[in-house]
Symmetry: C2
Subunit: 301 residues, 2 copies
DNA sequence: GCCCCTAAATAGATGTTTCCTATCAAACCG
DNA sequence: CGGTTTGATAGGAAACATCTATTTAGGGGC
């Protein structure tokens, strides 16, 4: 039964019998049969049938919610029993927005010493993808914005308030002192792509300051942005925590972006499933110890 | 997997392999094997083993919590799909304290007209048993006190405030006017047994009024109490809602018990499992429409 | 309009799992 | 110390799951 629910979840996620089967490590006929059996046992159609996958029926949608719960709880049971057997162990699968990637090290610091059998798997995703993956049980927790766009039913632990700096090559004229959002009108910028919430936040602040956003370079990767900034007179806008790591040398400089002093909370999100498994509890605890780290605003150099 | 969790729950409830097997409709070796497989899959011992059942290990206890959730959610899934298929249908299993038995009719009234395929199964239990059965998934909802003793993690819908009357044969001298708890010192009483919360409430009020509680007849059944009262000069103390049904004829009379005007809330309790199944939602809604019924206090006749 | 390609369903074979009956071993009780 | 209760074990039949191979059904391209 639980196996079949897993397959059903995979099907809803992949929207394709063959891919869902592959994801579950079974063949396509096996998955087809499992879905059919599930439908027989529940006495309702779950999937619109044609010669190809055509989405879930309304009942299928409701069943999917229950399936996620049941499968999630079953995994929690197994995980907790393993923790009881051999201490904290296993994988923690994290998905993180690009601008918070450096914060993962704060989370894992000390954690891996205390729990050597816990492994982390970290992937960079958009905030929307993070919430989807959380729903689909593809990750155990995410690191993303908490206060900007709706989250759904999750547990959150705020970790820090994101503040923004303009980053440019050393000697860039704007690095002389604080820059207002409104001053960015004709600065050539490299920014994240608009599917990133960080970019939408920047768009919003610039729109409020009355300037147009027309970046010359867009990327899903902060590294791409920074390497462009290093080569030319482009500038980029980054959260302090994301910029710090690139500011160690003398090549780059940063100044705070003011008017307004924008701030958005970033933190850990986890499925709201009481009680939490021991590993997740430990991770949330670790996040809580971090949650007082002040987001220092460095000045330009 | 879910079947095995069901067997595990049954074992924890029955505390006996043979009985648990019978309760699940399987043979004892099957249940033994299921528990062993569960232990193998989870990699921990769940049950203390000797030549007989010796309780759950700590891991078993934690696993039991998860098992209840998973099995409960799986049942909810099945129930909701059946509701989607053929409208509201199925059994609602209720357990009710003896003094609230008459209120069940208020709950079912109108409900069975609207949902002809819903069947009710009602059993009379103590408030403690009701909570246990709720935990063990043996009932879908209970009707019991909400405000007196701790309930645990459940959803509650208050329905009415219980108020108490003294019930005696017509012509009994005490029926002349309101009776204070303190006046009951040497009245011969028939009361519920002390495992009933109603009796503990009565004990408490009488103790506070400084009189001893020494009933001559104790029973778990209100009918037994009333039939004794009908035959002799005994009196009994009942909530208004429980007494009403016996007061239609001229044989019995009742007077309010005052000083203090004791009042305890009675209502529906259901497992807290979001989202609720359609049947349970309907039942809770029905209870909410009842929750304004004033508990009228009749005077003696 | 026809053909081809992709996607899902079906058929049949094979291996695994489940669950029964029968029996055994250990502990408890008188 | 024998009888009884309780759970574990063994062995076999039935049910189930999963695979490979094949068929059926749409959809798109030409």
């Amino acid at each position: 039964m639980i196996d079949k629910l897993e397959m059903f979840i995979a099907l809803a996620r992949e929207e394709h019998f063959g891919r869902a089967a592959a994801a579950q490590g079974v063949t396509q006929p096996t998955l087809s049969a499992a879905i059919k059996q599930l439908e027989d046992q529940l006495g309702v159609m779950l999937v619109w049938r044609g010669s190809r996958y055509q989405g879930l029926t309304p009942e299928g949608q409701r069943a999917l919610d229950w399936a996620r719960r049941i499968v999630g709880d079953a995994r929690s049971l197994r995980q907790e029993m393993r923790a009881a057997r051999e201490g904290l162990s296993g994988d923690i699968r994290l998905a993180v927005i690009p601008t918070a990637l450096t914060v993962v090290a704060d989370l894992t610091e000390g954690f891996t010493d205390k729990h050597p059998n816990v492994r982390f798997s970290v992937q960079s995703k958009t905030s929307i993808e993070i919430l989807e993956m959380l729903e689909n049980l593809e990750i155990d927790a995410g690191l993303t914005y908490l206060d900007n766009e709706p989250l759904g039913r999750v547990t959150t632990v705020p970790i820090y308030a994101e503040r923004y700096v303009l980053v440019a090559r050393s000697g860039h004229p704007l690095l002389a002192g604080p820059v207002a959002w409104g001053d960015l009108g004709d600065v050539p910028l490299c920014l994240l792509t608009p599917d990133m919430q960080n970019r939408r936040i920047i768009n919003q602040h610039m729109a409020e300051a009355g300037v147009a956003v027309e970046p010359q370079i867009e990327s899903t990767s902060v590294v791409v942005l920074v390497s462009h900034v290093l080569r030319s007179n482009w500038a980029t806008i980054l959260p302090v925590r994301a910029a710090e790591i690139f500011l160690a040398g003398d090549d780059l400089g940063s100044v705070p972006l003011v008017k307004p002093d924008a701030s958005h909370t970033v933190g850990l999100v986890a499925p709201h499933r009481e009680p939490f498994t021991p590993v997740l509890t430990a991770l949330l605890d670790r996040a809580r110890t971090l949650s007082d780290i002040p987001a220092a605003i460095p000045t330009g150099r």
